[in-house]
């Protein structure tokens, strides 16, 4: 039996990609080559450097045939550079609930929670313009699980404490108990009538401030979130690297960015001898991926639940239920580093359809897209489990990413069991995971 040659396998995949692209002048949404490269690197069949060089060359060849701007190689380069440059850490933080609704002539400002760091603050808010102003349909500020489409956060450009037309303020002045004031700018997502986001300032306030003042109102802050979440890191021992890789792929839902990429990964792993072609995990992975790709309709998935392994089967069975509790828990905890990643969970916000965790991650991890991903970009899956034995899976919703930092909302499904009292949020790579144990003592959310 000939020894598997990963370089040849990847190059032939590149040739097939080129040959099959003839006459296709649209941008490539996905590439079997990149999927194969990522899989082979994950199981150690080829080095990341060698695989990336091949992928980059064939992507350049594709761009020469499609007239695409090859800027994404710069994106990859920066991801690769970042992954090899240690030193990025999340600064210690203090997160406190605010729970204050402030009425203004332009509408309502609800202060959810405040995050204080040395040298920066972020005040997380929701805003609603006065109802007198007509406008387009608005989305709920509750977790939007009906849509599988991720919302991308947008910053509102331009300085000055102005409001635009019937819209919402873009800047706020926030003052602490030491008399220090900072001007914070709005980012987030929404429209002229509703906005969900945060006012951020790169100048810090006193981290132990007892109160803040916003729009002339003093908001008393709790001294500490009580009780504090526990956090720890656990190494994950690979049972079967190839199978573990496929499950990680499904968990981050990367396969939905290109039909066939999951199959390309499987083929590469089988060719490399890392996965038996008759491994029962292949059918299970395919079944779960098929269920997930059908969207959030629990009823539609119900007919095939018998073939799904746990925890997927029970998660699918509870999919679509609207029984989650309403409320907000401020966690404000940062994990130790796990597999080169540090994460902070700021809050958990639950609603009928599901729950959202506001998180930050270092280094900056973009939304998973094959075209932006380097062949060694980690698969970071957001799992959760409650004290009732239920499992949950999250994916980035509103998300922002820079070179060394990313963050946003992780939208979990299914809806949280209302009887749950403790929730473990478990961001996991293939090598390790962090566990953030959050006591579920719900604070109030604004009435909508």
């Amino acid at each position: 039996v000939a020894e598997f040659d990963a370089e040849l396998y990847l190059r032939l995949a590149g040739e097939r990609t080129l040959l099959d692209s003839s006459g296709d002048d649209g941008p490539a949404e996905s590439s079997p080559l990149e999927a194969a490269g990522h899989a082979l690197v994950a199981v150690g069949a080829i080095t990341a450097g060698a695989a990336q060089a091949i992928v980059d060359d064939y992507q350049l060849a594709l761009s020469y045939r499609r007239g695409e701007h090859p800027h994404r190689r710069h994106v990859r380069a920066r991801r690769s550079a970042l992954s090899s440059s240690p030193g990025h850490r999340l600064a210690a933080l203090r997160a406190v609930a605010c729970g204050r609704l402030i009425e203004q002539p332009w509408g309502q400002l609800f202060l959810r929670y405040l995050v204080l760091r040395s040298g920066s603050i972020s005040l997380h808010v929701s805003m609603r313009a006065s109802l007198a102003t007509p406008g387009p349909p608005t989305r709920s500020l509750r977790p939007g699980f009906a849509s599988a489409t991720s919302r991308v956060r947008m910053a509102r450009p331009g300085p000055g404490p102005r409001v635009s037309g019937p819209g919402l303020p873009q800047q706020l002045t926030i003052t602490d108990d030491q008399g220090t004031s900072v001007s914070a700018s709005l980012s987030g997502s929404g429209n002229d009538h509703e906005w969900d986001g945060e006012f951020e300032a790169t100048a810090g306030l006193a981290q132990e401030t007892a109160w803040i003042e916003v729009l002339g109102e003093r908001v008393e802050l709790p001294t500490e979130p009580s009780p504090s979440p526990d956090v720890w890191v656990e190494p994950l021992t690979a049972q079967d690297p190839a199978v573990d890789y496929l499950w990680a792929r499904v968990a981050v839902r990367s396969e939905f960015h290109g039909p066939g990429t999951l199959e390309s990964s499987m083929e590469a792993l089988v060719a490399a001898g890392s996965l038996a072609s008759d491994d029962p995990a292949i059918a299970e992975v395919r079944a779960v991926a098929a269920h997930l790709s059908r969207g959030s309709g629990g009823a539609r998935a119900a007919g095939h639940q018998g073939r799904l392994p746990e925890p997927w089967r029970s998660m699918m069975a509870r999919r679509g239920r609207d029984s989650g509790p309403d409320g907000l828990v401020v966690a404000g905890v940062t994990t130790p580093e796990f597999d080169g990643i540090t994460a902070a969970v700021l809050t958990v916000r639950s609603a009928d359809e599901g729950f959202i965790a506001d998180v930050e991650v270092v280094p900056g991890l973009p939304l998973w897209r094959w075209l932006d991903a380097s062949v060694d970009q980690p698969l970071l899956a957001w799992w959760a489990a409650d004290d009732r034995g239920h499992h949950y899976l999250g994916r980035p919703g509103s998300w922002h990413s820079s070179l060394d930092h990313s963050g946003g909302q992780i939208e979990f499904w299914p809806a949280l069991d209302p009887a749950a009292r403790v929730l473990d949020i478990r961001p996991a790579t293939m090598a390790a995971r962090a566990v953030i144990r959050v006591p579920l003592e719900w604070g109030e959310e604004p009435e909508r």
Binding site: S22, Y64, R65, A77
Partner: protein
């Protein structure tokens, strides 16, 4: 069944803007020439002394620099059905050194802002991109040049260092052959999704072609690119060409018909590929 690698490959001319005028680059007998610069050596010396360059000289330098570059085999066309849409202006040839340095600095700055390192000639601003942008005929001859260089290293009796280099490059050479064979077979059969299994055999081994289920299994040496593909002999009289070699003042081809039966010879007279 081999000849001087460039024999039978027709000369071509490409035009490019050089010092504000349109100049010709002429490829013939395996060499790229700049006939608009009759005193090339003198111009090179003067250019070096004065720090001035021109597009023609840059093109010659780029050609020489990439004559053995395996990336040519990845980036360049696999055949008429695989057009490469690089524009000559995507490269840096002909820019005065100051302008080139400025562009390079700008690219490095952009790359730095993007958070990465400056791309190491892996961009549209790279001289290879400009060479590829000089047109399909010249591009095919650059491919032939690179293929010929590596074919020599694969021959029995090559220097140990060349043999070692060829062994290390074997996956890239195999893939380059695969892409061109598959493109040719798909065009020949009219089946754009034809499945092809290629075995890259030693240069002296006999080629073969056979049905393989609903696909085709083919055994060819890397030298097929030089002997057949580069000369435009991939298909001839509705037959697939397995090998080509000089015979008298013409060429003898070993070909397979659409029934994929036994190979049969075809004699052609005059220049191939022209």
């Amino acid at each position: 069944m081999s000849a001087v690698w460039w024999k039978g490959i027709a000369p071509v001319v490409a035009r490019l803007s050089c010092d504000g005028r349109e100049h010709e680059l002429r490829w013939t007998a395996g060499e790229l020439l700049a006939p608009s610069h009759p005193d090339l050596a003198g111009e090179q010396i003067l250019g070096a002394l004065a720090g001035q360059r021109c597009a023609c000289l840059d093109a010659l330098d780029a050609w020489a620099g990439h004559a053995g570059d395996l990336r040519v085999l990845v980036l360049a066309s696999r055949g008429p059905a695989d057009p490469v849409l690089v524009r000559p202006e995507d490269g840096l040839l002909g820019q005065p050194p100051g302008a080139r340095a400025q562009l390079a600095r700008r690219r490095a700055a952009v790359a730095a802002i993007m958070g990465g390192q400056a791309s190491r000639d892996r961009d549209r601003g790279d001289p290879l991109a400009t060479l590829l942008g000089l047109g399909a005929p010249l591009q095919a001859r650059l491919t032939a040049t690179v293929a010929a260089a590596w074919r020599e290293r694969l021959r029995d009796g090559a220097a140990p260092a060349d043999t070692a280099a060829a062994q290390a490059a074997r996956p890239a050479l195999h893939a380059a052959l695969y892409g061109r064979v598959v493109a040719t077979l798909r065009g020949w059969t009219g089946q754009p999704g034809l499945r092809v299994t290629l075995t890259m055999i030693p240069e002296a081994a006999p080629p073969a072609l056979a049905r393989d289920g609903d696909g085709i299994a083919v055994e060819l040496p890397f030298g097929w690119i030089s002997d057949v593909w580069a000369r435009g002999l991939g298909t001839c009289w509705d037959r697939f060409c397995l090998a080509a070699g000089p015979a008298g003042d013409g060429w003898e081809l070993s070909t397979a018909g659409p029934d994929l039966g036994a190979a049969e010879p075809i004699m052609i007279s005059g220049s191939a590929g022209g």
